[in-house]
């Protein structure tokens, strides 16, 4: 019997250190995220969750350590990685003078996405009719968030990096978001969700990792991941190709374990004073 190839990592961080000036953003993160896995990144404010996602998106370079996203170095293969990764950040990345539809169209076309997915994404997030023709400057914070989510789902990248995705959304939009994440996860998309209110995101994730002081200090399994347990098929190319993973591996019982001592030591607020 031929050995089963291990599931490739979508995101692989080894002893990753990132700095802002001399200020440590990440202080030695080790994290492996399998293709198709959904990982919740939890931790207090300022622990490094946002920095972790920005590093994975290639927006913040590493000072030391290594990072591979979908097997590629985000610095050397910048364009290739960024076209396959989507980041939902605190900012919506919208142009105030463009309408909702123009913003979505530009975001999708700039990322070389399929324009045919724009209309379904607008409908999914309720951005139709007069709202689609409204300049972004006139939108509420929650509506701006919906537009950013519409760009993400229209692009449908292979890795979704969601930074506090539920923030600013009403109950209906939160439900839509949870649906979209579940659909993407079923389609084999790799998802990292950073949140300091885990309740909203826990149900979506296979695994949770705790970031404290710029390091991953603990992790726990929330539900078994089919993809991470050995399924090695291609990532579905869109929401219409969902549900292709069937190679569930051995069941994994939810557990919780620390990832080891924190060299260098983090203070109570989660900050480290120096990077070794």
């Amino acid at each position: 019997m031929a050995p089963v190839a291990p599931s490739p990592s979508a995101v692989s961080l080894r002893d990753a250190v990132a700095l802002s000036g001399r200020f440590p953003l990440l202080a030695g993160v080790d994290l492996e995220v399998a293709v198709g896995e959904t990982v919740l990144v939890e931790g207090p404010n300022g622990a490094g969750k946002t920095s972790l996602l920005r590093v994975c998106a290639g927006l913040v370079p590493l000072a030391s350590g290594s990072l591979a996203v979908l097997g590629l170095d985000p610095v050397r293969h910048r364009t290739a990685v960024r076209r396959r990764v989507g980041l939902l950040s605190h900012a919506s990345h919208l142009y105030d003078d463009l309408t909702v539809r123009e913003n979505i169209r530009f975001g999708v076309r700039a990322a070389a996405g399929d324009p045919a997915r724009i209309d379904p994404a607008c409908e999914r997030w309720g951005l139709t009719g007069r709202l689609a023709r409204t300049p972004a400057a006139k939108l509420s914070a929650g509506q701006r968030r919906r537009v950013a989510l519409a760009v993400l789902t229209a692009r449908w990248p292979e890795v979704w990096l969601l930074d506090e995705p539920h923030a600013g959304l009403d109950i209906v939009a939160r439900g839509l978001l949870d649906e979209a994440v579940a659909e993407a996860s079923a389609a084999g998309v790799t998802i990292l969700i950073a949140s300091h209110e885990p309740g909203a995101a826990e149900a979506l994730a296979h695994r949770a990792v705790t970031v404290t002081g710029g390091r991953v200090t603990a992790e726990r399994t929330l539900r078994p991941s089919e993809s991470a347990a050995g399924a090695d098929g291609p990532v579905a190319d869109g929401p219409d190709q969902a549900g292709t993973t069937d190679g569930a591996g051995p069941s994994v019982e939810p557990d919780e374990r620390p990832t080891g001592a924190v060299p260098g030591g983090a203070d109570a607020s989660g900050w480290v004073a120096h990077v070794a």
């Binding site: 927006l59 364009t79 605190h90 990345h93 142009y95 990322a111």
Partner: protein, 223 residues
Amino acid sequence: MWRDAALVAGKDLRIEARSRVALTQVAPFGVVALALFAFALGPDRTTMAKGAPGLFWVAVLFCTVLAVQRSVSVESADGARDGLRLTGIDPAGLFLGKAAAVGAQLIALEAVLTLGVVLLYGARIQVPWMIVVSCVLGTLGLAVTGTLYGALSAGLRVRETLLPLLLLPIVAPVLLAGTRIWQAAMTGGTPSDGTQWLRLLVLFDAVYLAVGVVLFGPIQETA
């Protein structure tokens, strides 16, 4: 690269058409600058006509600073610059697109300012094609250098004050060459009078275009 350039230029020009900053603020500023120069020179139309080429290009430089600052500020709001980076858009295409949008606005402004120097200063243009060529080449140089230095200052909190300080000395060759070509065009000089200055503009444009295409990406990542 060209697809991305067209996409970005279209986006910037659409934003400009909606906000009308160039029409309602930059163009009036250029005309006011010309009028103030006229006041400073006094009522003698001969003196004004003589100084028209230099004053035209100084007004164009001031307008360039405003147009470039506007181009940078469009990408500063709501993390749009990060959003652009995250799309994986080709940096050379982004550079060319933003420069094309700034250039298109400057060409329109130069048309208004040319009308201004004719009406306010009584300037007479003897060789129109030299004016057109100098404006096209000068605008290209100003747009590419402005976009490049705009990106350099984009991430700084003091970018509004730093940009003119960085940009204006760099574009001095455009001011010099443009003024000389305009002088030749206004005095009815032969084409050879302006040829060496046209060559300077072509060289300036080629150097900064190449530098921008190569360096805009790294600047965008580090600024």
